[in-house]
Symmetry: C2
Subunit: 357 residues, 2 copies
């Protein structure tokens, strides 16, 4: 059976060699003759995994020891609460940019914790663009942004310049392109798109930003507790973190972010060119804000969908139905998706044009 | 290479066939020609896993639809906070029995949330027994107990009778023996001992106990939010939950809890008999409270440890060094540990006796 072209929006495609290594570790990890699933997280062998999984993030982001890296359970959704819990002072204000469902959820949790101001939003056009030119309050405790919006296919091509701490949910485009990580006080990302499988969330935070809220804190929601525990205050999600390490090692070994950024650009250019050229299709977002990770597009004539669906399914393509909030199609182009899979999709689009033409 | 006898206290041993199935799912899950690590948790194939993983818990516990089952990230440590957050009214009181480090941590989090009373404790003797005969306040919102104490090797052989909601951390002995689950309002367990790998925590809760605190709740800490989302309010720890399902299917297929309870009793009897018979060793806990899951024992002459360590390592035994709070040895006898592994350990103890005798 030929390989499936996996355009899933997340959990998303992982490199084949990573899946093979993950499979092997389920049987025999590190030549222990034990499965990774049944050894102590306090074993030397696993402590090495955790150490490397933490340090490789700092390496890829090119930051120093002023930052700490954690892998936590609970998904990015738990970070929606932990960020304000750890950074929003009891009488302070947090500023948020609302670029979609996930940003809205982050705002909802922040409001439960303290004063929260939405300083820009693209809700007026179903989040099909990235707001620009808004003013950032200089006295807010932090500004929270979402770098890429999986559902709508929009991506911040540059980040707001501000002199308050910048916090970013990078769940769906982390390590897909060069960013100046030192501009951020906190970056978090659910692993299940560009980093690894579901089950762990990476948090990279500047240490000197913590401990200032005056809040009495629950241990599991306190970044400082997790930092003190070396990201093992309690049993971590052992296997998801290991597979994340494998995925980041794959990225580093192949040339790092500058390598993948180029490929991701090629994939996006190839697909968006076809969306724009092919008279049957139309993109759904503002052209300048198009995401290189999630390309959303519609058939101009929605009644053709069943016929088009049949065609791409025959080509072994999987996971390109759009999110219910946008409809149509969404092709996710995460790091591990090969250029050839995008070519297969583009060929199917061309083939469909000939057929209908 | 011969198989390791894995006595790890947790993450602990899993059945060989489960490890094999887990390994296969990393490459090709459910004949999709895709890895379980790279498919959507909203796919039909995974929704089936989640449904079964939830229903099999109710089946094994023999409870009906008045209970809901969730799989959450963050470990049992997050439940230390979520339990009082969801059950402790703003002016109410929670009652706790302190039987060790984990119970103490649960108490610490509850105190951050509301009035918390420790009604019994075995701290006076380094938690080497289970407190009995204490009075349970009839007006408390709930009583929290820990059924098995991994570090010290103590286990509640019966549960307190009370007419307030009973909450139990069963992380280290869940599904190891028959319990009357209907006596409990909430049972939770980090999966990584008897249920599966690290990364997900099972919570079974009576629905009618929820929504009574008067507290405005953060979404990710609210059981009702997770129930409404079918335990997929956000992306769940996909792979750990799947392996948990495999482990519970293994248990059910082989005869369920009555089957494993008998084997667990045989394993415990075999090991404790040797601890009591062998003049070189001594158990560390009150005999009537000895855990069938974690047997803690010392060499009467601690200076012999290096020599004994050499012997069991040669026998391919792994993970029996005791926790630093107790010292000596701890053999964890979780469901997946075969009787023959215990026999190997007992043989090594006998062999050591001959050598020293």
């Amino acid at each position: 059976m030929s390989k499936v072209h996996n355009f899933s929006a997340g959990p998303g495609i992982l490199p084949q060699e990573v899946l093979k290594q993950a499979s092997e570790a389920c049987i025999n990890f590190d030549n222990l003759n034990l499965s990774l699933l049944e050894i102590s997280h306090r074993s030397k062998n696993y402590e090495k995994v955790m150490d490397e999984a933490r340090s490789i993030v700092k390496e890829l982001f090119e930051v120093g020891d002023e930052y700490e890296v954690l892998y936590l359970g609970g998904g990015a959704s738990l970070q929606f609460a932990m960020v304000p819990y750890n950074l929003l002072r009891e009488n302070g204000t947090a500023a948020y940019v609302n670029t979609g469902v996930w940003a809205s959820k982050a705002i909802k949790e922040a409001k439960l914790i303290g004063n929260t101001k939405v300083i820009a939003s693209s809700e007026d056009k179903n989040f099909n663009y990235i707001p620009k030119g808004y003013e950032i309050p200089g006295d807010a405790d932090y500004l929270h942004i979402t770098s890429n919006n999986t559902i709508y296919g929009t991506q911040m091509k540059s980040f707001p310049k501000c002199n308050i701490p910048l916090v970013c949910d990078m769940s769906s485009d982390i390590f897909s392109r060069k960013v100046n990580a030192k501009d951020f006080t906190l970056i978090y990302a659910g692993a299940q798109k560009n980093m690894g499988p579901a089950g762990s969330t990476m948090v990279m935070v500047k240490k000197d930003a913590l401990g200032k809220t005056g809040r009495k804190m629950l241990s599991m929601l306190d970044y400082q507790v997790h930092i003190k525990g070396g990201s093992m205050y309690n049993t971590p999600p052992v296997f998801p973190i290991y597979v994340t390490l494998l995925t980041l090692q794959w990225l580093k070994k192949n040339g790092g972010i500058s390598w993948i950024e180029k490929i991701n650009q090629q994939k996006a250019d190839l697909l968006y060119s076809e969306i724009d050229r092919n008279p049957l299709f139309i993109g759904t977002t503002a052209v300048e804000d198009r995401s290189n990770m999630n390309a959303c597009f519609l058939l101009k004539d929605a009644s053709l969908e069943p016929e088009f669906d049949k065609l791409w399914k025959e080509a072994n393509i999987s996971g390109i139905r759009g999110h219910r909030d946008v409809g149509g199609y969404r092709a996710s182009l995460y790091n591990a998706l090969p250029l050839e899979s995008v070519q297969v999709l583009v060929d199917v689009m061309k083939q469909f044009e000939s057929k209908k033409g």
